[in-house]
């Protein structure tokens, strides 16, 4: 990618379902013609699912929380939390999608953790 032709857009958070991490699946008009709308929506939806799993109140998560509470949260000095593992999964998925789908179309999706989970930065060649 030539630096002079690179533009950035920032896909914002979608708060319609709550304060949980969810990014807007609205297709940015700047990417029209560069990538298929369905492909893009599927990618963002899969990223959203990683964070839904991170924030779910499932049995395993509650058990992890209870165990951590009983140890005075010293457990977190030894093991990664479920949320951190999900965040890593989301980052790996984005990297895989960039490698297989987006880079050949002149698009790079950024890791939302770099932006404090505020947005997904998207670089595209103009």
């Amino acid at each position: 990618m030539d630096r002079r032709n690179v533009r950035k857009i920032f896909v914002q958070r979608d708060y319609s379902r709550g304060t949980g991490v969810r990014f807007s699946t609205d297709f940015p008009r700047e990417l029209t013609g560069k990538v298929d709308e369905t492909t893009y929506r599927t990618t963002i939806e899969n990223v959203n699912q990683c964070f839904d799993e991170a924030e779910a109140l499932g049995c395993c998560n509650v058990l992890e929380g209870c165990l951590a509470c009983m140890t005075g949260f010293a457990l977190h000095y030894c093991f990664k939390t479920h949320y951190e593992r999900c965040v890593q999964d989301a980052a790996k998925y984005i990297q895989q999608q960039n490698r297989e789908v987006y880079e050949q179309r002149g698009i790079i999706l950024g890791d939302p953790m770099d932006r404090g989970l505020r947005c997904v930065s998207t670089l595209y060649s103009h």
């Binding site: 990618m1 030539d2 630096r3 690179v6 950035k8 857009i9 920032f10 914002q12 958070r13 708060y15 319609s16 379902r17 709550g18 304060t19 991170a54 924030e55 779910a56 109140l57 998560n61 509650v62 992890e64 929380g65 209870c66 951590a68 509470c69 005075g72 949260f73 010293a74 977190h76 939390t81 479920h82 949320y83 951190e84 965040v87 980052a91 990297q95 960039n98 790079i108 950024g110 890791d111 953790m113 770099d114 932006r115 404090g116 989970l117 505020r118 947005c119 930065s121 670089l123």
Partner: protein
């Protein structure tokens, strides 16, 4: 005099260029607000009272409680109380409590190019971001406020702390006693700290009374007080702690049951009388037990700030990006 021809570039860590009003330890791994003297005072009080307990009360109870051997439970419970109090105090006061990182220049430029969501009124330049924008949030319309310091749209329940100069997710309040803001990442530790101090304080007071009562049987009340002055000091300090912390602990128990933050309670965000319309709290779960389960055992969000990373000093902070930096050739 020979002047140095080359300037030595010392690598800095990102926390040294952090714009908020915070104090850092362990190369940016730990952080709190600027004022930590009261936090240190609290920690010292807990340690001193515990030391007096182990030195006087625990030793007396181990020896004098019948049957022999049962008295061992007293110092064991004391150790647990000390461990959990200090652990929760540390986790409340010394971690990133949910700071939203400030927007980077490219993001700010993009937001400004988006234009006004709502007309901002006179005195504002065209194209500058509006102060508010309305979004759909769990079946209600919610206004997101633009933070002029952090250059971002504050998510619902987020607020900017003027003392720490940062935006926090699920901001509750700034607590000078723990030297940190109480927000999304440390609210459970704060609540557990209050509860542990209240319970441990009551336990210590009960032990003090037991020691004085048992000692009085042997030597009289006045002599018991003179022989075990540590118990008297502990009783007074624990009593003050229990009185001040119990009320706060009960208040936060009530807030968790209603799934509100202190900030929302003060502003009356979900109070129909203050809002003048039908509002409901969309964060409340089916029952109080689920609320408590979510707050205490729910997900543990990670910190967003990567402050330990080294940057080369180039006159202004370089920002670490995972993939974008590799784009440019």
């Amino acid at each position: 005099m020979v002047k140095a021809r080359y300037q030595l570039i010392m690598p800095l860590r990102k926390y040294q260029k952090f714009p908020g009003n915070n104090r850092f330890w362990c190369c940016g791994a730990l952080m709190s607000s600027r004022q930590v003297s009261i936090l240190i005072f609290c920690a010292i009080i807990i340690v001193v009272v515990s030391a007096l307990f182990f030195a006087f009360d625990a030793r007396f109870l181990v020896v004098n409680v019948e049957p022999l051997g049962v008295g061992v439970i007293f110092p064991v419970l004391g150790v647990l109380g000390l461990y959990f109090s200090m652990s929760f105090l540390f986790k409340t006061g010394c971690i990133d409590s949910g700071i939203l990182p400030r927007a980077l220049p490219d993001e700010i430029a993009y937001m400004q190019s988006q234009g006004d969501e709502e007309p901002a009124g006179s005195g504002r330049t065209l194209g500058a971001p509006a102060r508010y924008k309305t979004v759909q949030h769990m079946g209600q319309k919610v206004k997101l406020k633009w933070c002029v310091t952090c250059n971002l749209w504050r998510p619902p329940r987020a607020s900017h702390c003027g003392l720490c100069n940062n935006c926090y997710e699920n901001f509750d309040h700034h607590c000078p006693w723990v030297g940190n803001c109480v927000a999304r990442r440390n609210y459970r530790y704060f609540y557990l700290f209050l509860t542990t101090i209240a319970v441990t304080g009551v336990y210590m007071m009960a032990c003090n009374i037991t020691v004085i009562v048992l000692a009085s049987k042997k030597m009289g009340f006045g002599d018991a007080l003179k022989t075990y002055p540590g118990s008297v000091i502990e009783f007074c300090v624990s009593g003050l702690a229990v009185i001040s912390v119990s009320g706060l602990s009960c208040m936060h128990t009530w807030l968790i049951a209603r799934m509100e933050t202190t900030n929302e309670d003060i502003k009356g965000t979900f109070n129909p009388r203050k809002q003048g319309r039908t509002v409901h709290n969309p964060y409340r779960r089916r029952n109080c037990c689920l609320n408590f389960l979510f707050v205490i055992c729910g997900p543990f969000p990670p910190r967003f700030l990567s402050l330990i990373v080294q940057i080369l000093y180039d006159g202004e902070a370089a920002h670490f990006m995972s993939q974008e930096q590799s784009v440019y050739v």
